[in-house]
Each structure stands twice: as C-alpha cells, then as structure tokens.
Symmetry: C2
C-alpha cells in the first residue's frame, strides 16, 4: 500500500463521494482537507539528524510548523539557535516533502526527548515529577495590551474571512494573531489545532517577532492546556477561542498570567482569567 | 504552583466568568470540561512500571482509557495479555488518580516505544520506514454489517441524547458504537477525541467484546487518520463522523477495508469508501 508514496502537495484533496440526501444517493465530487505525516528531525552542528516528532498535518508552511513545534516543545531556544530548515533530500536527490530537518547551533533534544516521552520515576514517588513538569517548561508572560470588547467581538469575522480552506472542506483549524486594535497580523490553518498554532508561532520565530506580548491570539475551536502552554512559550498574553476552554487551560493561563476569552462569537464572550486586559466599556 | 496537587475528580469543573453580552459585563458561574493529565504506565511480570504515555484527558473511565490506549497503540495484544489495571498508590498509601498502571502478562513496550517516538533512519533512506510504518501496525478489517441509510440518519440524535456533559460545557468529544439496527451499545466522552475512542475500545477489550466487526462507530467531530487506525485495531468496519474526514483518514480506511460516512447530520451524509455496507434504499 502506497499511502505515502505520492504525497499530495495541496491543502485540499479531491475525492468522489456518494452523497445521500432526501432518500436518494448520488455520486458527486467533494473536497477533503489534506492530512499527511510530517517527520521533524533535528541536528546539532556536524551531527546526523535524529527524529524529534511525527505530526499529522496539512501540507503548507511546513518550515513554520517545524520551527514552531521545536520551539514550543522546548527543543529550539530561539531564532539565534536556528541554523537552517530544509526538506530532506532522498538518495536520488529528490526532495522528501514529508521530512523536515532543523539544523541548530545548539541542540537540546536529548533532555526534551526523555522528559516528554519517558519517565523513570519509581512508583514510590508516583510520577509527581512527570506531572509537575507539565507546567514548568515555560515562564509567565509579560504585561500585554488592553483590548476593547468591541475589538474582541470583531475578531471571529476577521479570521473567517481569511480562512479559505475551511470553507471548502469543513476540516481545518485556524490560529491567528491580531494587534490590540483588531488588525489581523498573521493566520495559519491546519487539520490539527496544535499545528495551526505551531505554524503561527514558528513563522513569528523565523521573522524574529517573538515574544508576541502585544498580540491577541484567536483559535477557531477549543482551548486546551497544550495550546495555552504553546501560547505562553511565544509570550502571548491574550488568548481567545471561538469555543470552550478546558479546566486545565484555565488553570495554566492563570499560572502563566494570561487572559482567556472563550465562546467568542456573535459579539458575546466569557472572560475566564485576568480580565484586567479587557476593556468592557470600549 | 499546584496545578496538579488537588485533582478534580469530576468531568465538569465550576468556575466564575465575566460574561460579556449586549455591551454589558456580568460575573456569573460557568462550567468547564475537566482536563487533567493521565500518565499510563505498563509493567511486565515482576517488573517495575515504566511510563508509556501521558495524555490530557477528562477524568472518568480511566482504566478503559489506559487499556484502550495501550491496545490501539500496540502495547497490549488483547485481553489475555492483561493482568490488571490500578491507580498508582503513593508513599502514604493514597491513590494517585492521575497515574494508572497496566500489569501485563507479556510486555511489548520497548519496540513500540522506539517505533513511535524514535527513528534512527539515516537521511539516506529518508525516514521511508518511519512513514510506511504508520499504516502497517493494524490488519485490514472483516466483512462487517450492512446498515440502512435510515439507521445512519438516526445515529447523531441517539448519541446526542446520551452526551450529557457536552451540553453543560460545549467542550467534549464523544465516541459511540451501535448495532447495525441502530441500537446504542456504548458511549464514551472526553476532552480529547482520541481519548473518547480509546475509552470506548478499552471498555470493549476489558469486556472481551473485541473485535467490534458488527458495530457501527460514530464520532462527534472530525475523522482523522489516527481515529481510523484505532478503529481498525478494534476491528470496526463502519465509521461515521458528524463532521469532515481528512484525506489520510479516507486513504487509511480504503486500505483497512472500512466504510467511512462523513457529515452525518440532519438525515444527510456522504459515503467516502466501501459504500457496499450502506443500504441506500433502506
């Protein structure tokens, strides 16, 4: 089976479906969001690349994704540690579009790898270290902007107008960052919600725009712990979600000093943490 | 910061929010879906437990989740390999509700661990092995049932009537399995879509109900590659999703011989693969 032999290079894939409606089934063309594995490898100076992670992603902005993933997961310290990003080249010199290697001036992989995937804590201390580690990777964020309620209310429409692929497939998450006056600065889409945010953050890292302390983040779906921690790694202070946050997302945002706005739709929203950054009279 | 010192034992957490609507901000109580880390450990006969995975999950059905995760990720061969599941016990004999250990008669962890998280393939072969591996872990499914279109149309309402926590929080994914006549057999919820399916499959494993070749699966959201592969591990032949499938989900289902039904809502749906299991006249 050659699932991965002929990678589709587009964010949308064409398929034929049998559409059932009003008691009738008719064949018709349809479009799906493309999902493909991306293997991210890292290498220090003069070293052979080693695999850091495999993520299922929508092709496009792969270098942003690789940089963002390594940064938010603690394997890349910042833009100065980055020496280059490239697709892997195969034995016949063809580019391998599902493998990206980050060359780093300083590689911190081994620790991270152990910390993320392996825990040798004995049962006596019961993995306390493993759990505590979850929230210790990233420092609290800075002061950040104050955002008017009217600006917050305008963000979902601003994102939707840029979220093209979703309209075609119904299958994409989006992450966007805005200035405090509501100006859209950047947006990224992916079949995976983590990937959309990693792409956004990775682009900012490569552009040397980190930390994003003056920006407002909007994600198209729910807000989980991991999204909050990734946002904190990028210094993001105001996090908005169209849908619900989780309990741990709120606990983490409280810890990192971030403002969480949830259920942001139709001009309404809830503020869960640090409401001082929201100007409800504005 | 004691994010994890006092684990909430409920699927729903109470919070105070500042609700903004019609130009006014009012404090009011709200409910969030609970998200907490679960560390899953595995141990062979006479061995100390080692960490297999940490997943962010909604507390509840933790043993189902641990069994399902280990099974669908290849570390647990089946019910006969399982010797027991328990929460870890701390130094003062208190149960640690965020750490579960699976005792196994045969432990296959080391290979799986390497396969999932580490790849030492040199650049010359370009991770081909790593990518190909993705779809080789599970065997194709069996013949499975034929399901009437009218039955498929009835599934979302049947699931919704059992999805209680979602109504309170808007933050939960659900996975359910039905008989071919539409009878609901089991449902599980979680903040993570993978976890909801792992809980469903883990329960079936413990109940010695695997493979689930005669059942119809419904997931409340989108259908990704990983969900398709987990479903294949459980022998599920008919996979339905309320929202969109991805391209790789479809490619994998084609490979495993599964029927995929997407955008199943309001009596309408699309069939993406193996339509022979759908009776459109029924």
């Amino acid at each position: 089976m050659a699932l991965f032999d002929t990678p589709v290079r587009r964010a949308v894939s064409d398929v034929q479906v049998l559409a059932f409606e009003d008691g009738q089934a008719r064949p018709r063309p349809d479009r799906l969001v493309t999902e493909e594995p991306l293997e991210v490898r890292v290498a220090g100076p003069g070293q052979e690349p080693v695999a850091f992670a495999v993520t299922m992603r929508t092709p496009g902005n792969d270098f942003d994704l690789a940089a963002g993933l390594c940064f938010t997961e603690g394997a890349l310290a910042g833009p100065d540690a980055l020496d280059g990003i490239a697709y892997c080249v195969g034995p016949e010199q063809e580019q391998q579009y599902n493998i990206v290697t980050l060359r780093m001036r300083t590689l911190v992989l081994p620790d991270v790898h152990e910390r993320r995937f392996l825990s040798n804590a004995s049962c006596g201390i019961c993995g306390k270290a493993a759990l505590d580690e979850v929230d210790l990777r990233v420092a609290p964020v800075g002061a950040g902007p104050t955002v008017a309620a009217s600006v917050l209310g305008s963000l979902p429409d601003a994102l939707a107008s840029h979220q093209r692929v979703f309209e075609k497939t119904g299958g994409l998450h989006a992450a966007a960052r805005f200035a405090a006056d509501g100006t859209l600065r950047e947006t990224r889409e992916d079949v995976g919600r983590h990937n959309a945010l990693d792409k956004l953050i990775g682009r900012a890292l490569v552009d040397r725009a980190l930390p994003l302390a003056d920006d407002v983040l909007l994600v198209s779906g729910r807000l989980s712990f991991e999204l909050v921690q990734k946002a904190a790694a990028a210094g993001l202070t105001v996090l908005c979600a169209v849908s619900a946050p989780s309990s741990l997302a709120i606990a983490a945002a409280e810890h990192f000093g971030q403002t969480v706005v949830g259920f942001l739709r139709d001009g309404r929203f809830n503020v869960y943490t640090h409401p001082e950054r929201v100007d409800v009279s504005g």
